[in-house]
């Protein structure tokens, strides 16, 4: 991207995406936002450290995990407008890398997190460069089919122990302590992923992705290396999904193909992003939070089918009637026209 000639005004001064284009009000809103954000982290951390209800802690951990995945997805899916239905694939590849590497090298699964991200990232490069050279629906189909292909492959390979799955070495801690450990890992991950997405939204990289979404031909003419930008965003999502998969595998210490490459993971991410609103970094945070809380709640009361029904219906309703998601509604009510 260093070769582009286009000069974009410094992000700090321009009313970027995720901000209100009202002079004066901008700074106030930003402060309120930061205060809410910090308060949220503080409350969650206090909750994690003190709560006695392990079930609630487990739910919170899952919700935070989806916040990480959804923030990562939203860079390409939201800013770039390219639908990636393959988060489950990278998640699963990360989980299996953790299991195989840690079992062979005799190290704790959590220590393989970098390797997991790297393997998922390499896969994304191999898949992304050819398929992102093309436009539109093609990429979505590739990610969908590859998820199925890799799931099938993992179910028959010897190194992955086929459909029987693999065991990992659990951390030697009390159930409570280990649950807290994973809660704080995912809390940290969620904060990091959110801040990263926010930073990217204000960077030239983020602007390039938005330009691609709005008009890819125009973006190309303006000198944006579209394939490279899209692939980078895809690889970023994959690396994060791979690392999340690693932590997930370590937490569960048993993985098998159907659950680990479950297409529902990709679905949950997409639903969270669309419900929250993909045009800003706040959206995935809100969307993944609300949809996952809802789905986890339904999961404890029913057998999960109703959860999928509700999530599917939410996706239909938001994509059809509320394209800006929750964030879009809030912004419109605040008197600012949603343009991005």
């Amino acid at each position: 991207m260093s070769t582009t000639e286009v000069r974009v005004p410094p992000p700090a001064r321009a009313p970027g995406r995720g901000q209100l284009a009202v002079p004066g009000g901008e700074r106030l809103w930003a402060r309120v936002g930061w205060a809410v954000f910090a308060l949220g982290i503080g409350l969650l951390a206090a909750f994690g450290a003190t709560t006695g209800q392990l079930g609630t802690l487990r739910v919170a951990t899952t919700v935070l995990m989806y916040v990480v995945l959804t923030e990562a997805w939203s860079v390409l899916g939201g800013f770039g407008g390219y639908l990636n239905f393959g988060m489950a694939m990278f998640f699963g590849v990360g989980a299996y890398t953790a299991a195989i590497v840690s079992n062979h090298a005799g190290i704790p699964p959590l220590a393989t997190v970098v390797a997991c991200g790297a393997v998922a990232g390499i896969l994304a490069v191999v898949v992304g460069i050819p398929s992102l050279r093309l436009r539109g629906a093609y990429f979505a189909i590739v990610t969908f089919v590859l998820t199925l292909a890799i799931q099938q492959l993992v179910s028959v390979l010897g190194i992955t122990n086929g459909a029987l799955g693999l065991y990992l070495k659990p951390v030697s801690m009390s159930p409570r302590a280990s649950l807290e450990l994973y809660f704080f890992i995912f809390l940290g991950g969620a904060v990091a992923a959110t801040l990263l997405t926010r930073q990217l939204a204000r960077s030239r990289f983020g602007s390039a992705l938005v330009a691609i979404r709005e008009d890819e031909d125009a973006a190309e003419i303006l000198g944006i290396p579209t394939t490279r930008v899209k692939t980078l965003a895809f690889v970023l999502a994959a690396v994060i999904a791979g690392m999340v998969g690693c932590v997930y595998a370590s937490q569960l210490y048993y993985i098998e193909p159907t659950g680990t490459f479950d297409f529902a993971i990709s679905l949950n991410v997409v639903v969270g992003a669309i419900v929250g609103g993909v045009q800003s970094w706040v959206g995935p945070l809100l969307g993944a939070g609300t949809t996952q809380l809802l789905s986890q709640e339904l999961l404890t009361r029913t057998q999960g089918v109703e959860g999928n029904l509700v999530l599917g219906a939410l996706l239909v309703l938001f994509a059809r009637f509320v394209p800006g998601g929750i964030v879009g509604v809030v912004r419109r009510r605040g008197g600012t026209k949603v343009t991005v």
Binding site: L134, I141, V142, Q152, V270, N308, P323
Partner: protein
């Protein structure tokens, strides 16, 4: 030699039915540039409805096809009017998101209605077979392939021998120009969506006779319809026939020479490789007709 012929014949018959699934996808994609992600679950629902019609009222799946086609047409047309039309105006990925949601809803509703149990339709001709000079052809394959040929033939006639078909193809080629010529492209979108859905329903009834089915089969049928479109390209019935027959024969051959649990891996693997290496089954195919 007879084994080879046997495998090829089975593959061709199966391929004709796969063509039905692919044709539904390719027609919608060709005219509207939208990938109908709910195609797979529609096929599954078609199988279940054919099952219910058979078990409750003893209606033969061949007749069910005739019932399912108009029912699915109306459902598809309504879905287009209510859910797809507005997002499609914005972008095709928003339309795909809606269809993705409809797929989830369909899957959940189907699971609530029919549970996750596997079923099969035990028609009288399910176990029969016709033998000539050493080649044994299963009767149900033969009958359902016949049904597929009839449905595909009628679709081809509709697309190439009627004014409606001409209008549909015109919208696929150039929407603005078609509108200038007085074609109501919004109405054509509704029709084409209904048509694609109807083909999925018909395919569901046919596949329900041949294979046991359950509600989880939707992603497999969706993937198969992708394969048909990617091999055959866009362009209505004839190009789906290329993709469908290739898939059917390929699957029959692989099932003969490879262990059974490897077959899906090989099929998806070939598809994935084709997607990545050839880089644009759909993209390249777009240059062709429709």
């Amino acid at each position: 030699m007879t084994t080879v012929l046997q495998v090829v014949i089975t593959g061709v018959l199966l391929g004709l039915i796969y063509t039905l699934i692919g044709a539904g996808l390719t027609i919608v994609l060709g005219v509207l540039r939208i990938v109908n992600l709910s195609q797979g679950i529609l096929v599954v629902i078609g199988s279940f409805l054919a099952f219910d019609l058979f078990v409750r009222w003893g209606i033969d799946p061949i007749l069910s096809v005739l019932i399912l086609i108009p029912v699915f047409f109306v459902v598809g047309a309504l879905a287009e009017l209510l859910f797809v039309r507005v997002p499609a105006r914005d972008s095709s990925s928003r339309a795909m998101l809606v269809l993705f949601g409809l797929m989830m809803v369909g899957e959940a509703v189907a699971t609530l209605a029919w549970t996750t149990d596997s079923r099969s339709i035990a028609v009288g001709y399910a176990n029969g077979s016709i033998a000539f000079s050493g080649i044994v052809v299963p009767e149900d394959y033969l009958i359902m392939a016949g049904v597929a040929i009839a449905v595909l033939g009628l679709t081809e006639l509709l697309l190439y021998r009627t004014m409606l078909g001409k209008a549909l193809r015109a919208v696929g080629q150039n929407r603005q120009a078609a509108e200038v010529l007085g074609i109501d492209s919004a109405w054509m979108a509704t029709v084409v969506f209904g048509l694609g859905t109807a083909l999925a329903g018909a395919a569901g009834a046919a596949l329900g006779v041949l294979f046991p089915f359950s509600t989880q089969l939707d992603s497999q049928w969706l993937a198969y319809s992708f394969i048909v479109v990617l091999i055959g390209g866009l362009g209505g019935v004839r190009s789906s026939l290329v993709g469908g027959l290739a898939l059917g024969v390929g699957q029959a051959v692989f099932s003969q020479v490879l262990p059974l649990d490897i077959v899906p891996v090989v099929l998806y693997g070939i598809l994935a490789a084709a997607l990545i290496v050839r880089g644009g089954g759909i993209g390249l195919a777009r240059v062709r007709r429709i």
